[in-house]
Symmetry: C2
Subunit: 442 residues, 2 copies
């Protein structure tokens, strides 16, 4: 029997997270930065429902995600599911609206997705995806642009040392065709995808014993995947290997255009590499493929991946919708930024704290705060006239950079104390100069 006053235990479900301000402020900043970069290249925001018909989300079915989908019957008896990625809803969206939207169509989409998967190793059951895609064109321009978006994005977030590794599925297809291994392509690529983590020995064994390749085939595949050098040198080395296959030559030519254009557009050579070992696990990709690694934390894996596909929405429409896009790994990137000390432990939502010293001066405090906000400076006013020390302790804990301190004598003389809470230094400033002085200190 529960008594009336028994409390409900405040707790969250396993795999789900509360975001406190210290985590949410950098998170929101990262997402805003991504949206700004996407927009600057002409990508438009869209949104789709969190819940969709199960039939729409599962499509052909059979994928791992099917079992992980949160699925139930709604109030109207419909079989519904919570979206497990933003790609399937985008395919449905494109099939439904492309007539209105026209092509090419460039969209970004930032939103939560849900997977009831095992929560080990920093995996969550609810997480944000942050995708951009161009559909309705096969032009290499859009492939180059995807690489440029990734480059600008990482720079805008604050990274200087990162590498976009690029390959083209068609090179791999061409190689496998020339080795008479086209039928085993999916299995070979799945195994090859492990090269970075498992090493060439393990990959060789699995290709031989698991997939059934001959010694010569294993050597050829591994030799290709382990090629190193500048894009120009690699393209020269690869050309003879794929010469026999039209698809391989198309991939070769696409990569040549891509690297030339990216260089012309100002991407430094050390940030963009041709890497024949990049395979990407998914069947979906058919052209250029991208992965992005942080030079100071390569072990964390790719923080932004994507590629070109032949047809986005084949399940929902007969219209061909080829495209190219990538997805920013928000959780992984934030974890990396924290590990690299790029996120301040404390962060206030605005720079200035204003203690309240005299209750009768409420109107004066509010007017002063409003003046600063009108000048573009965010201010938090403490709501009660407590001791100054206690209020400054609150400000320290919240991570404010500056405090503007005023009482009756300051309000009457048109001045205030401007205190740098980091340097613990204060100066008296005329009210008319306050916003400018704050600007200098920030």
């Amino acid at each position: 029997m529960s008594s009336k006053k028994q409390l409900i235990q405040p707790r969250t479900l396993k795999g789900f997270r509360d975001f406190l301000p210290a985590a949410m402020i950098p998170r929101e900043r990262l997402i805003d930065t991504a949206k700004g970069v996407y927009r600057s290249f002409g990508f438009s925001p869209i949104d789709t429902p969190s819940l969709e018909y199960t039939e729409v989300l599962l499509g052909k079915g059979g994928a791992e995600t099917d079992k992980q989908m949160y699925r139930f019957t709604d109030h109207g008896g419909r079989d519904v599911g919570m979206r497990f990625d933003l790609t399937v809803p985008f395919a449905r969206f494109a099939a439904q609206h492309i007539g209105t939207l026209g092509t090419p169509f460039k969209r970004y989409h930032v939103g939560p997705v849900w997977r009831g998967e095992n929560t080990q190793r920093g995996r969550y059951r609810e997480f944000i995806q942050c995708d951009f895609d161009t559909i309705g064109t096969t032009s290499t321009t859009s492939d180059v642009e995807a690489a440029l978006v990734i480059h600008e994005l990482f720079r805008a977030i604050g990274f200087e040392r990162f590498t976009i590794r690029i390959n083209d599925r068609r090179l791999l297809t061409g190689l496998l065709e020339s080795l008479d291994l086209l039928e085993q392509q999916t299995s070979v690529l799945r195994v090859l995808d492990k090269l970075d983590k498992a090493g060439p020995g393990a990959v060789a064994s699995e290709l031989k014993d698991g997939v059934g390749l001959s010694e010569a085939q294993v050597s050829a595949v591994l030799e290709f995947a382990q090629l190193e050098g500048s894009p120009a040198a690699l393209l020269e080395a690869i050309e003879p290997l794929v010469r026999g296959a039209e698809v391989g030559l198309a991939g070769h030519s696409g990569l040549a255009t891509l690297f030339e254009a990216a260089t012309a557009a100002g991407v430094p050579a050390e940030r963009i590499k041709l890497d024949p070992s990049i395979a990407r696990g998914l069947d979906y990709y058919t052209g250029a493929i991208f992965e992005t690694f942080l030079d100071d934390l390569p072990g964390i894996g790719s923080c932004c991946s994507g590629g070109r596909y032949d047809d986005l929405a084949t399940l929902y429409t007969k219209q061909d919708l080829p495209g190219v896009g990538a997805s920013l790994g928000v959780d992984r990137l934030l974890a990396a930024m924290e590990e690299l000390g790029m996120i301040e432990a404390q962060s206030a939502p605005c720079p200035v704290f204003m203690p309240m010293l005299e209750k009768d001066r409420l109107g004066d405090y509010l007017a002063l705060a409003r003046e600063l906000r009108a000048a573009g400076v965010g201010v938090e006013l403490y709501p009660e006239p407590r001791k100054l020390g206690a209020q400054l302790k609150y400000a320290d804990r919240r991570g404010f950079a500056l405090a503007v301190i005023a009482g009756s004598s300051e309000f009457e003389s048109g001045t205030c104390q401007l205190k740098d809470l980091r340097a613990k230094e204060g100066v008296e400033v005329a009210r008319g100069d306050l916003a400018a002085r704050i600007g200098e200190l920030l």
Copy 2:
């Protein structure tokens, strides 16, 4: 039997929406504006899970929302639900984390909520809530600040003609106490809440026949609710009516402070009114209450409502967490903005369109676009070298303001054509002046 090639019908669930760019761009802009204003007052972002234990979400249960909640059993056999508002999760969040966060704590929270309710009259089963609250203080400063946040918010969105109507539950309680109607308070307030829409005649009948008030009690309640005048005049008229009840006097004093401080902080008198008829439907509120109406579309109802409450998280913790906050009606406001012509029918995610005239110049186009982006000007480059007319038609359809047109001769002479797509005018501009000239035109 379905054939392999049978398509899945691309459709969304009833009550759920796709947002195309034309709807999503103003939506994202509105939400960004709200977040910016919240931050400028020191409110920090938080987030909570979309899914929670049913026990946590339903609390005492019995509310209308219970039946509307999307509820199911998850993979681990847990009874879970999708959040139907942001208030209940915030209460749970506060109970769980307030020790870490400290008080006062100011948060904003923007996110989707789900209600499987009837979809008539522009109601949706998934919609965004956009709330801000200050908890852990009973200071009137936070009440005033809530009104100031609403005022700055509507101004920042682009409204000049709006009215924040303010009342205090304690005035109503004081009046009802003096009329010996405290026990019927909830019923009386629910009926009074309809005054604006149903009119005094219908409200009088319902108070008499439905709630059982005497003629004299009905007159006293309606007379109070229909008082009009400046805040100062109203406070003078109300004082004798609540003089007998301590709670009424406390409300009177709170409102006096609130209006005085808001005026001192620069809120124009025509935008902030004391309105004794504002009751708010919910039991929850115990002090100042707010509603916000657009002067040009009053019939659309309140676009931002809220108030003060005594205890946020009583279900989850013994710690008292008084607070004050409000919620911006995002859907309602966007509908109003559309009706008032404040949203452009077309809107591109960035201002400049760049047609591609020569495929061989890809690197030059990308470099020029990058120059503009580095100067803060977003540019979309068309991915293929189609006819200029076709590309400009695409740009028109997308709503771009300007086009930067260049081919070999322009790249060689270091110039380009800058075309205003709205005025259909073009000029030749030196490349070095381009960003500045674009800035002048926007």
